[in-house]
């Protein structure tokens, strides 16, 4: 995965709270191999009318080339399905801006190069107002932890560790394998602790 330091592109508004990962990708699509692409599943049922047609007024339908999504609190709550992040990333989204994120979702996002940019409730309101027409140009900068949307600049919060991962596009498995000696030593220490390894099926 490639790292990045700045994203620049179309920002759109999805002014809803509690968008859970079941809405981001309904369960029925999750048996699809990743290589087939998940972008077409993003918000599959939310972006369609009750008749199953694409709703032309839905922001993502009107602006399929958007890369910054500004939305409500508790985005990505619920199921741990990383497929929700695959759907966003495969649809071209690189930055989600919200007052809060589901803990598991936020971790999954960073592991796939997607920035969960946390802003204050007041700044979320400001951005919602700024984007009331539905769309605008936006920039997200990791170094300064600043968003600039239609000329309005607001700071976002991001854990240092996560920022480093996004900047470098690091893969944790490579990182961890450098610590194999420490892991082996830990394993040796706990080997005799009762319960740390399963007893095995009863004799």
């Amino acid at each position: 995965m490639a790292g990045w330091s700045e994203q620049r592109g179309k920002a759109i508004l999805l002014p809803m709270a509690n968008i859970d990962t079941d809405q981001l990708i309904p369960a029925r699509f999750m048996s699809t191999p990743r290589a087939e692409g998940y972008g077409r599943f993003l918000l599959h049922d939310v972006r369609r009318t009750s008749e199953g047609e694409m709703d032309p007024e839905f922001p993502l339908n009107a602006h399929p080339d958007a890369c910054i999504l500004v939305t409500g609190r508790n985005f990505g709550s619920g199921s741990s399905r990383e497929a929700a992040v695959y759907a966003l990333v495969d649809a071209g989204i690189r930055v989600v801006v919200a007052p809060s994120f589901g803990d598991i979702f936020a971790g999954n996002a960073v592991n796939n190069g997607l920035l969960p940019a946390r802003v204050s409730e007041a700044d979320a309101k400001l951005l919602t107002k700024t984007l009331s027409s539905g769309v605008g140009t936006g920039v997200a900068d990791l170094a300064s932890r600043l968003l600039l949307i239609r000329g309005v600049s607001v700071p976002f919060q991001l854990d240092d560790v996560w920022r480093t991962k996004l900047l470098n596009g690091w893969d944790d498995i490579d990182l961890t394998r450098h610590h194999s000696a420490e892991i082996a030593a830990y394993r040796g220490r706990i080997l005799s602790e009762p319960g740390r390894f399963p007893a095995g099926d009863a004799p």
């Binding site: 709270a17 049922d45 560790v161 394993r187 319960g195 007893a199 095995g200 009863a202």
Partner: protein
């Protein structure tokens, strides 16, 4: 003297392989549970040509796509392929697999404790958000994403930043007809679906001590619906009695040594929590959800909210939810007709849950159809031994095999669009039980009551004169 510690502090430091200066800790994983949905992670491992680091600590369970009607081959090729893929990965890496025909098969969060794989003091991960369930035994247990699953498979460790500590204390005695499900929905309604975000929640107080392991598991399971990735209860005699003689639990001298260690797993009396919340058990009533987030929940004797009277930040979401749910603001929740019921899931599919539902249904007929799916094959066998299956079938409900079933609908057990389901599950999200499905979450006893009357209703009067 050293600073007082929380249970979280103790569990965390026990598992730290190392801690970086930036605060990120590499933690050892004692048990890693995988299921059909873990296919992305196994694919990543294959791409890199890596083996599973600790096959003896990795357990595979068929649950998310498990058909609940087991006769004959699986009709849907996509579902059959998901199960086949897990079988292939388990065989390739030498993992113990709880397959469809295994007498110990079930939902991963029911099987772990049942097998004694879940123990106090362990760190348990699984690519499923309801992994918080296992914290009921005083374990550090949390759901992870596919990239993290691949990492645990490859290294048996996981990078995490320590969450903040939150305590929810529930004192007093729960009234009859009120259960752990109601405690959970009560605090989530109060604090919000993100109320515990960034926190590990420890449950304490006399009402928690009085809960069975099943009740504690329900409570820890639902912690994620309030935003907390981990829930936990300090282990005690109730936990030890549950675990003794479980097939994978320590035996003989090891059992006694383990008990000594486990008894120290508690928060110090003067430990400081980043957040403290207190509830009174006597004030908790049976709760149902009315909306499309678990925070949209009210006692059964309340009325459907009038959006304009809610705090401004909640108005729009309430309007959208009521529109989706087809409910009329101001009308009483009780009396709302339901089309079907579901009893099961990792939240409320254990033996005690089935007993609670059967206590309401005994000698009564359901007015609507419904599915009862035990949380595991063992729970199913136990229920059949107790005659609970006959209570359900004589009431007119379908008694089927175990799996995640209608909680997530991946196996084809779905609620049709526009239909209303009283459900003992964990998520009332839009489309969770099927596209356009309307889900009301409640306890198994409340689901049983809804089955009998064909409407949302208060279970308490229906329990009078009955053994509960």
């Amino acid at each position: 003297m050293s600073a007082p510690l929380t249970l979280l502090d103790r569990l965390w430091s026990m598992h730290e392989v190392l801690c970086r200066e930036d605060g990120s800790a590499l933690l050892w994983v004692d048990r890693h549970l995988v299921h059909e949905g873990s296919h992305h992670a196994f694919a990543r491992l294959a791409e890199r040509g890596l083996p599973v680091a600790e096959p003896g600590l990795t357990f595979a369970v068929v649950d998310h796509y498990a058909p609940t009607r087991r006769a004959g081959p699986i009709a849907d090729p996509a579902i059959a392929r998901m199960i086949e893929t897990l079988r292939g990965n388990a065989a390739r890496h030498g993992l113990r697999l709880f397959d469809l025909d295994d007498p110990d098969q079930g939902i991963v969060h029911v099987v772990g404790p049942e097998q004694g794989l879940t123990l106090p003091g362990l760190l348990i991960t699984c690519g499923d958000s309801h992994t918080s369930t296992h914290g009921a035994f005083g374990a550090l247990a949390f759901g992870i994403g596919a990239t993290e699953v691949a990492h645990v498979l490859a290294t048996q460790t996981i990078w995490q930043r320590k969450p903040q500590a939150m305590r929810i204390t529930v004192d007093g005695a729960l009234p009859a007809g009120v259960s752990a499900k109601d405690i959970a929905l009560n605090w989530i309604a109060r604090l919000g679906a993100d109320g515990a975000q960034g926190h590990a929640v420890e449950y304490a107080g006399s009402a928690i001590r009085s809960l069975s392991m099943e009740g504690r598991m329900t409570l820890c399971n639902l912690t994620i619906e309030g935003g907390g990735r981990m829930g936990m209860v300090a282990p005690d005699e109730v936990s030890f009695a549950y675990l003794r003689n479980r097939s994978q639990a320590p035996r003989g001298g090891d059992w006694h040594k383990a008990l000594d260690n486990w008894q120290a797993l508690a928060s110090d009396a003067d430990a400081m929590f980043d957040r403290d919340v207190a509830l009174l058990a006597e004030e908790i009533a049976p709760i149902v959800t009315w909306g499309t987030s678990p925070e949209q929940a009210l006692p059964i004797d309340a009325s459907v909210p009038i959006p304009d009277t809610l705090p401004p930040a909640k108005v729009q979401a309430a309007r959208a939810a009521l529109d989706y749910m087809g409910l009329v603001p101001g009308r009483s929740l009780a009396g709302t007709p339901v089309d079907q019921v579901f009893i099961g899931s990792c939240t409320n599919g254990r033996i005690e849950d089935l007993r609670a539902a059967a206590a309401v249904l005994a000698g009564r007929r359901a007015r609507v159809p419904g599915l009862v799916s035990p949380g595991s094959a063992r729970v199913k066998a136990q229920a059949e031994e107790e005659g609970l299956d006959r209570v359900f079938t004589e009431a007119g409900l379908d008694w089927v095999a175990s799996g995640c079933s209608m909680c997530v609908g991946m196996n084809g057990d779905l609620v049709a669009a526009g239909k209303r389901c009283a459900s003992s599950t964990n998520r009332n999200f839009r489309g969770r039980q099927g596209k356009g499905a309307r889900t009301h979450l409640m306890s198994p006893a409340m689901v049983a009551a809804a089955a009998v009357t064909g409407t949302l209703c208060d279970v308490r009067p229906m329990l009078r004169g009955r053994p509960v």
